[in-house]
């Protein structure tokens, strides 16, 4: 038990000075003059808003990514004592003194700086030489686009950091697999892999591609593990379970955790409430909750209600009617019933109130005790302000001629009887005798005579309908669709029998005090669903680009321009690195294909790994310098070239507006691949010492070239130096680069 007392406490420090130096250089390049410019740069205008929302604890919805990234940025604001009071409305606006620019930008800059030594470590873990690893890190260090992106309040550098961390920790884990499975460090790296993956996904959805890649590599390794007959069944099972727990369960739990923290941070209602369901809104502080708190839960005969459409597209709206009638004849010559219009109206209004009436009785007030309405009951809906009945009949709707018109019935005595009976169909009922509940119940109103369903068609009525939304009776309702589902939002028991008093009652707010809440899981699911389906406006942008432009760097983004001078920040990559990284990818692919074909014919150019380490990835980096094995070459390719592919190719399928910075995660992996290919060429393809020396000299020349490019583009990267128009023109190496030149 007390064994540890028998031995002296020894701490052996093993410090790789390379790593220390790289970290220092990384920090220097990313943190230098971090709070310059003291103005809103490009997408900061976008992320800044969310930081302010966090600071003010106001609920918001952002479809672009899960909340973890936003929360990290907000953490910077919290540490810097930001109060959220800044109007993020314009790129280039000067920050007021209450905005802690340095601490807001610190986190992305730190992650960007740490990516440099991580590149070094990934390559060493992959078993490549110290030189190759240094090369990778130095390339990361002088990549202008990466520097620009990490020095601002943006999320790409954070995403890249977690991507690299996931790969690095998986490699560490996999290297410790052979020697010491189930040791603390084994567990640590395995768990860290899962955590890093979930963080990457939590920052941006595209992180999921790296996660899938790591999962795939882990899957292949696990499959080999299953085939390892030296392991007992039980230990194989333990291995598999440990991986499943760390790589599947932990990320899922972390992801939920992000949302939990997010939802507990932003608990106040705000401008984005409207998109959410009534139940969700009621769970926020202020806003709808202030109105609905204390409403009676069960809708009864005589209840006064507002009915909100569940789909809420194109805008959230409530069932509405008003004095105006449908025009006798529409523009296209079709006729209407000329009865009172029923629409869906996106604003709160006294005309949104309806009274639930029992068809068998005359009274419009709630009896004592209230008789709740249940699933399957037949009801009439009376419009509160006009006392007309909701009605539908076999007349074509104004804009959707295949559906029925919905109106409030006006009796013109022209043998068109009222058809105002509706059967209540509670979609999410617990039992067949479920009661209609405020906010919680999602109901469909099925017309008794024609079995049409009350539906929001989504079309805007013309001027005669005040541009409100069209409501129709859908005859061919095929199954469930959210546009046919409604829920009661505001509700109170009607007390006044007389119309005059009732109108007064309708105008007065509903107030009582009971608290109702939604479970976290329900809130999470709804928020996640809305985030995924939230449509971006899809507007074109001056600097948007297509994925094909990225590889060749045929596009650029102007981030910021000094209000007076021509100092500017411009997202531009180091062309030498981009070009050689793309070449390296091509070279790797060709070489791999060539080796695969030759191996198929039993010609092994690269030695197979010894049997001992077959199961895991290469372990002994320095054991056989220069001669690394086939498996190592494949693993490096799978992670680096694969990482590039999974972070790049999916963009071809995306329909959203794309920008150059979307390519940066892919580029990082490509940069990692570059030294892999170079070392391979030097070790395997340069057969003589002379060639090797020549190649080395070439590399030095090439790297100085890259440094030169970095230095030339540096003013655009840091934005600290104002260049003359002629200098700027000279920098415009490609016609498609839109470098801003002031006209004097």
């Amino acid at each position: 038990m007390l064994g540890f007392l028998k031995h002296p406490v020894v701490v052996t420090a093993d410090i790789n000075l390379n790593v220390v130096a790289l970290t220092a250089m990384g920090l220097l390049s990313r943190l230098w003059q971090l709070s310059y410019p003291r103005a809103v740069v490009f997408d900061e205008v976008y992320y800044g808003q969310y930081i302010s929302f966090y600071m003010k604890r106001i609920f918001f919805l952002d479809g672009s990514g899960p909340p973890f990234g936003h929360m990290l940025l907000a953490l910077g604001g919290y540490l810097g004592g930001f109060d959220g009071n800044f109007l993020w409305n314009r790129i280039g606006a000067e920050y007021s003194s209450n905005v802690p620019v340095w601490s807001l930008r610190l986190l992305p800059a730190l992650t960007g700086a740490l990516s440099v030594p991580m590149a070094y470590q990934i390559l060493s873990e992959l078993g490549f030489s110290h030189c190759a690893a240094m090369g990778a890190a130095l390339l990361m260090l002088i990549e202008n686009a990466l520097i620009t992106q990490s020095r601002l309040m943006l999320l790409e550098s954070v995403l890249i950091f977690f991507n690299l961390l996931a790969v690095l920790s998986y490699l560490k884990f996999s290297n410790s697999q052979k020697q010491r499975p189930f040791s603390p460090s084994w567990w640590f790296w395995l768990t860290l892999t899962g955590v890093a993956c979930s963080c990457a996904v939590g920052v941006k959805y595209v992180g999921v591609f790296t996660y899938l890649l790591v999962l795939a590599v882990a899957g292949v390794h696990a499959w080999h593990l299953i085939g390892d007959r030296s392991l007992s069944n039980v230990s194989v099972l333990c291995h598999l379970l440990a991986r499943a727990a760390a790589l599947l369960v932990v990320p899922a739990a972390m992801y939920l955790l992000f949302f939990y923290v997010h939802l507990s941070l932003v608990y106040r209602s705000g401008p984005h409430d409207q998109i959410m369901s009534s139940a969700f809104q009621a769970s926020l502080e202020g806003g709808l909750a202030r109105i609905t708190q204390g409403q009676p839960l069960e809708v009864a005969y005589g209840s006064q209600v507002t009915l909100k459409n569940v789909l809420g597209k194109p805008v959230p709206c409530w069932l509405h009617s008003h004095q105006s009638t449908y025009p006798m004849i529409y523009e296209n010559g079709r006729g209407s019933s000329h009865q009172q219009q029923v629409t869906c109206y996106p604003f709160k209004d006294v005309n949104n109130w309806w009274i639930v009436k029992d068809p068998g009785r005359h009274q419009l007030v709630v009896s004592n005790p209230p008789r709740p309405v249940r699933h399957g009951d037949v009801v009439q809906l009376v419009h509160g302000m006009t006392t007309r009945f909701l009605n539908t009949h076999d007349v074509a709707a104004p804009l959707s001629p295949h559906s029925q018109e919905v109106s409030c019935y006006v009796d013109y005595n022209i043998s068109m009887p009222s058809q105002n009976l509706w059967r209540l169909d509670i979609v999410n009922r617990d039992s067949d005798a479920g009661v209609w509940k405020t906010i919680l119940s999602e109901v469909r109103l099925v017309h008794v005579n024609t079995s049409a369903v009350l539906k929001l068609s989504g079309a805007h009525l013309p001027d005669w309908g005040f541009r409100q939304l069209e409501v129709v009776g859908e005859k061919l309702s095929r199954g469930y669709h959210e546009s046919t589902v409604w829920n009661v939002e505001e509700h109170r028991y009607g007390k006044s029998q007389e119309q005059k008093e009732r109108e007064v009652e309708l105008h007065s707010p509903t107030q009582m005090d009971v608290h109702r809440n939604l479970s976290f899981l329900a809130r999470f699911l709804e928020l996640q669903w809305r985030m995924l389906t939230a449509k971006s406006d899809g507007s074109e942008h001056k600097y948007s680009s297509s994925p094909l432009d990225w590889v060749t760097l045929d596009t650029s983004i102007a981030y910021w321009l000094h209000p007076r001078t021509s100092a500017q920040i411009h997202l531009l990559g180091n062309v030498v690195i981009w070009a050689s990284a793309s070449l390296a990818t091509v070279a790797y692919t060709l070489l791999l294909f060539w080796y695969l074909l030759r191996r198929r014919r039993k010609i092994c150019d690269l030695p197979e790994e010894t049997k001992m380490s077959r199961l895991t990835s290469p372990v002994v980096p320095e054991a056989s310098p220069g001669k690394y094995s086939w498996l190592r070459w494949v693993l490096a390719g799978a992670l680096c070239a694969g990482g590039w592919a999974v972070n790049y190719v999916p963009f071809f399928l995306m329909e959203k507006t794309l920008f150059l910075y979307h390519y940066l995660p892919a580029l990082t992996f490509q940069i990692l691949l570059l030294p892999v290919v170079l070392q391979h060429i030097s070790d395997h393809l340069c057969r003589t010492q002379l060639l090797r020396s020549l190649f080395g000299a070439l590399l030095v020349a090439w790297y100085s070239c890259a440094c030169h490019v970095f230095n030339t583009l540096r003013p655009l990267t840091y934005g600290d130096k104002s260049l003359s128009p002629s200098e700027l023109k000279a920098l415009r190496w490609k016609d498609s680069w839109d470098i801003l030149i002031r006209k004097y």
């Binding site: 499959w223 007959r229 789909l311 989504g458 005859k475 199954g479 942008h541 014919r601 399928l653």
Partner: protein
Amino acid sequence: MLCATSRLLAARTATALPAQPRGRGPGARCRRRELHFPGHPELDLDDFLTGRLARPSVPVGRRAILRRGRMPPAVGGGPARSELRPRRGRCGPQTARVVGPDETAKPAARSRKRPGWGSRHFEAAGRWALLALVTLLSFATRFHRLDEPPHVCWDETHFGKMGSYYINRTFFFDVHPPLGKMLIGLAGYLSGYDGTFLFQKPGDKYEHHNYMGMRGFCAFLGSLLVPFAYLIVLELSKSLPAALLTAALLTFDTGCLTLSQYILLDPILMFFIMAAMLSMVKYNSCANRPFSAPWWFWLSLTGVNLAGALGVKFVGLFIILQVGWNTISDLWHLFGDLSLSVVTVGKHLTARILCLIVLPLTLYTATYAVHFMVLNKSGPGDGFFSSAFQARLSGNNLHNASIPEHLAYGSVITVKNLRMAIGYLHSHRHLYPEGIGARQQQVTTYLHKDYNNLWIIKKHNTNADPLDPSLPVEFVRHGDIIRLEHKETSRNLHSHYHEAPLTRKHYQVTGYGINGTGDSNDFWRIEVVNRKFGNRIKVLRSRIRLIHLVTGCVLGSSGKVLPKWGWEQLEVTCTPYLKETLNSIWNVEDHINPKLPNISLDVLQPSFPEVLLESHMVMIRGNNGLKPKDNEFTSKPWHWPVNYQGLRFSGINDTDFRVYLLGNPVVWWLNLLSIALYLLLGSIIAVAVQRGAHLPAEVEGLTQVLLRGGGQLLLGWILHYFPFFLMGRILYFHHYFPAMLFSSMLTGILWDTLLRLWAWSLASSSLARGLYVVGNLSLLLGTAYSFYLFHPLAYGMVGPLAQDPRSPMAGLRWLESWDF
């Protein structure tokens, strides 16, 4: 040893038997199969594992033998020889080992007497009879009440109409490639339909028009699906019960039945998909006799069917992927076979390129050639295509017209947007209303021909009349700076930094100036896409962009409809984003210049490759345009395998004749269950093999069928189903049916294998046999009974809806979402 040889002999002799309806001598040689009746559950996998499938496990030395096909392929089959009666199977593995290297065994084997002629005849006859029975039953179900209902059902309104277009030779546009509709048209033509029926909307009565030819053609192809599936499963599993079960599932599926009975593209598409699959499987089993006649036959037939599938719908791409995958892995194995020289592998590669790439592409292109040749009259599809293309169609106003070829200053022109359904650049005397940009004359696009579409090209700096005969003709060249004057109102095309009426980020385009005198905002640079500076500009053919000189923006149309003040014409803007979209590319259509000689437009007619390319672009754009709206009910891919919702083919009310496309729920849910079971079983087996578990020989044979044959079918199901999740276009239930065919075949193989495994695990052979027979029979009868229950869905129901107890479907509405 003896036992082994005679066993092999049996397999060998069976080769002489034709195994297929249209099998000819040489074709039959590679199709040697020993088939057994359900009562004799016996599995012979020798031949199946002969070819490439078995290769990875076969030692190198032995491969040469296999490849040349001289040896009965016992190697892979050793362990695979699964039999329910162990005493007979015992010598299998030894056979493989002993006989394998012994090449001399071959002539001996061939010269041996052939045992059991009588029984073989009986077997062969039985096999034929079964195939005939399956085919007959399929035809009977598909042709039963084919003429009902005698009105247009569902998409017949499209495809019937398009068939008529071919008969009438009028040009039309559709998002699908032409082959399927051409075949429908041909069937109609041959059966005496004259193309006069309008096919206006579902429910229109056919009256005296002869529609049975077209329906009969589709039903014929639809009926062939069942025998095809039967043969595929037979080939993959070597098990007659499995094939029978598959055939029953498909014959008795109301969905397949309904879909085969109408004038639709789906039966044609599915026919080609299944035919391609069948010929691929057949060709795989010829792998041991490469470059033989049947090998070539099946290989090229695969190619032909691929072309057919792609020629009917682009969904045919999925079967191409499947065949492609099969071919690549095949080549990969051949390449790894060191006994084959690289030259031989090269021959293999060339053969596949010829038959699977060149041949299908040629055929596919040929269908388009025929398509454009047949449709030579102007029709409803003209507007979708470019002006140059329209000049080909007789009846179009551009046909046989003659206009000057190159644009010169002073020419009067109309300018058409290249994106379909946007129209001509247009202006009229009305001004933009108050509050919408500058109050100047409106510029819009307009779809119809109109005098207000005419513009005059002028030099930017002079206002002299270029038509003055004393001046020389000056052509407009790429890169010139021009002014466009509206002919009717003499105002210049103008743009400035005001926001456009609808697209706020773009600039407004107006008509400005008096009698052609305006300001520098009227100057535009004319550029031809992908040309060098100084080139002349051709009418119809040149794709031009107009770049505003001062702001650098590009003239384009957003495609948005202006409100009433703009007469509901489309908005024209100047976009500051220099993006290559068709919205900002224009071409000159009409061209009047008295100083220039007119040439016939025939000179400008696009060549066939250009037409081909253009029609594909238009089809792809049309497909992308089919986007569902938010508030519409749409079918989701996850609905399909669970048979969540059907499609109404005809009728709604209880007095109508109602046909409802819905899968037979028993079949579909069995399919769904089978996929889950297959995945479970497959992964258990795969893990067991990877752990090095030693399976008994019988089980190993079964697992081989399950993993290899079933794997191919599973791949087919995945390829025909999952891509739909990625598609943005509007989807329908019937898109699932090709995948459903694959999943039914998988079900057949899975249940047969499961029953065999179960039977094998029982000790007593008679009990095992009984169990096997009972299991298969109950599956067959269960499907048949469910068909009896659900057949009104396909053959039509009249009378009350299913809620009513008097309805033929009373009590059968198992899901609330089915509305019949």
